[in-house]
């Protein structure tokens, strides 16, 4: 007799957390099978995430109390459209990065430990996306942060170690700030679930300090200007797949949590929105100027992350300052677009460095060796980051700018446009070199140096480029369960 399995009856909620966790343990215990265990863990987590997304799309609001324990002692995992979008982003990015890693000849250092750390990271991130109480979010964020630090030092160079130590200390500082905020909230209200806090937040005098502490901690973890100093070194000194993970995915978790708090718990006041906007504008300007001055390819890409986080923060601020704006979905779309494009860009940059042998931007055009496919991926990703149509970045930027126009917020619009022009400026420093040939010594042929490892970044870049055409479906997914509240702009 064949056992009948009712797919709908399976509780998928734990799968995106447990599967990578088990994969991490298996890979740690059996280093020789680390790749297989890692890909299996990621694959299973992908199935779970897809199943949860399917449930969310049908209008269900899946949620599970782990082990049957209800709050306050137990932990509840739940999903809505926003959760599903970030689970899917994690799946796509980690599968692509994992595949690249599996296709690349293993580097001498840290080959075996890469997989367990990456899976631990995925478990932490998915946990943060699914958690419904702020303490659990804190714990899962810390798990992810520790795994990320482990990944960042895989190269073993002194520069990477120093960068990772600063990264860790910044993360710990952020964590301690969040913990203080949690303590104050619990002290005042005796509860930590987001839904419950939403009803009571603001009623106690200490709530203001608590929320400022939490948001400051998250801003530190997300490297929001002027709390970004740790990011460029940490992201640019890691191995390329790790840089991709750190920049594209790990940074999104604190931003996601901030979004949850901002929309779900806080009563967004104009003043706080303006603060976020000013910080975002500062990040755009500072990150762009540093990217314009950077001499190394990976450092430029890392500084562009600082600027892009600023753009996302600008969208947060705009939405908070003008609740009628549709910029919330714009912010999320920008986060997803940055995830796809930045992962593609870091991996492509890694491939370029591998083929050319160095990453000095000024001398890239002297090399007769041009890894065309990696350059193409880099260019597509750059177009999405700049926000030209029809990319996903364009879809995000359009919503942000539409929000600004609807709210008559012309300064915000001007900032978004300035960010666009600046990103053209620093990214074209790299792109122009791809097309320059008069400084080459030696023959230049076509299509040099491509390997299978160019595939995943190309796929990610093409996705980032083309996904804007289907942005309306992404926005529809985000609206499931109304995590962002009623979206006046999207309703029309």
């Amino acid at each position: 007799m064949i056992p009948q399995i009712d797919l709908a009856a399976i509780d998928w909620m734990l799968v995106p957390v447990l599967a990578p966790l088990l994969g991490a343990i298996a890979g740690f215990v059996l280093p020789r099978a680390a790749t297989a265990a890692g890909m299996a863990g990621l694959g299973l987590s992908a199935v779970g995430s897809a199943a949860i997304t399917a449930q969310v799309r049908t209008g269900a609001a899946p949620s599970t109390a782990i082990g049957g324990w209800e709050p306050p002692l137990g932990i509840v995992l739940a999903a809505d459209g926003l959760t599903a979008a970030f689970l899917l982003l994690t799946v796509v990015l980690t599968l692509a990065i994992g595949t690249t890693r599996a296709l690349t000849p293993a580097p001498a250092r840290g080959a075996a430990i890469f997989w367990p750390l990456m899976l631990l990271l995925v478990a932490g991130l998915n946990g943060a996306f699914l958690s419904t109480d702020i303490f659990n979010i804190y714990v899962t964020l810390e798990v992810a942060a520790l795994a990320a630090v482990g990944l960042a030092v895989l190269t073993g160079s002194a520069a990477a170690l120093r960068a990772a130590l600063n990264y860790l200390l910044a993360g710990m500082l952020g964590g301690v700030l969040i913990l203080l905020g949690i303590g104050l909230l619990f002290h005042a209200h005796g509860r930590l679930d987001l839904a419950g806090l939403a009803a009571v937040a603001g009623s106690a005098p200490s709530d203001g300090i608590a929320l400022i502490a939490i948001i400051a901690g998250l801003a530190l973890k997300a490297a929001l200007f002027p709390l970004h100093a740790w990011l460029p070194a940490a992201h640019s000194n890691a191995q390329a797949p790790v840089s991709a993970l750190l920049s594209a995915l790990v940074l999104k978790a604190p931003l996601y949590v901030a979004l949850r708090l901002w929309v779900g718990v806080l009563d967004p006041a104009t003043a706080s929105g303006t603060v976020l906007g000013v910080m975002g504008a500062g990040a755009i300007l500072w990150g762009s100027v540093q990217a314009l001055r950077a001499e190394r390819l990976k450092l430029l890409v890392a500084y562009s992350t600082v600027a892009q986080v600023g753009l996302i923060s600008l969208a947060f601020g705009l939405s908070a300052a003008n609740p009628a704006a549709i910029a919330w979905t714009g912010a999320v779309t920008l986060m997803l677009a940055h995830g796809l494009a930045k992962a593609a860009m870091f991996m492509a940059a890694g491939r370029i460095v591998e083929e050319v042998g160095h990453d000095r931007i000024a001398e890239l055009d002297r090399s007769p060796r041009r890894p065309t496919l990696a350059q193409f991926s880099f260019a597509l990703a750059a177009i999405s980051l700049i926000g030209l149509p029809p990319t996903l970045g364009f879809a995000g930027k359009w919503q942000l700018m539409e929000g600004a126009v609807r709210a008559d917020a012309w300064i915000w619009l001007a900032m978004a446009m300035a960010g666009t022009l600046l990103s053209v400026g620093y990214l074209s420093r790299v792109l122009v070199g791809f097309l320059r040939f008069d400084r080459v010594r030696g023959a230049v042929g076509e299509h040099q140096g491509w390997t299978l490892a160019d595939g995943p970044p190309l796929l990610l870049a093409v996705t980032a480029f083309g996904a804007g055409l289907f942005a309306t479906h992404i926005i529809a997914l985000l609206a499931a369960g109304a995590p962002l509240g009623q979206l006046p702009g999207a309703m029309q």
């Binding site: 520790l146 170690l161 993360g171 710990m172 500082l173 301690v176 913990l179 949690i182 619990f186 002290h187």
Partner: protein, 98 residues
């Protein structure tokens, strides 16, 4: 002055001392210690919520504080390992370059 206020004020003060030193101290080791002090302060604030007038203590804050300590110990361990590795790397570098 209730015991709650005293504990609360102590917690905030500890946090502030830790935070200040984590930001200004130059040495990584000292900053790690400072972060631990700050974290203890945050735990203080949390654990006084367990105080119930006339009843037994609420177990939830204890569970939270213990979890927080575990997280902090893990992070501290990684940080110390990094400081050690960095120290070794620096020593090797200075040995290599006469």
């Amino acid at each position: 002055m209730t015991p709650e206020t005293i504990y609360g004020a102590t917690g905030i003060a500890l946090f502030a001392i830790g935070l200040y030193h984590a930001l200004v101290l130059p040495s990584a080791l000292r900053r790690i210690v400072a972060l631990n002090v700050a974290s203890v302060g945050a735990g203080f604030v949390m654990v006084i919520a367990a105080w119930r007038p006339g009843g037994g203590a609420d177990p939830v804050p204890h569970a939270l504080v213990i979890t927080g300590i575990v997280v902090l110990v893990a992070a501290t361990a990684v940080a110390l390992a990094l400081v050690r590795a960095l120290h070794d790397a620096d020593t090797t570098e200075t040995d290599d370059t006469p």
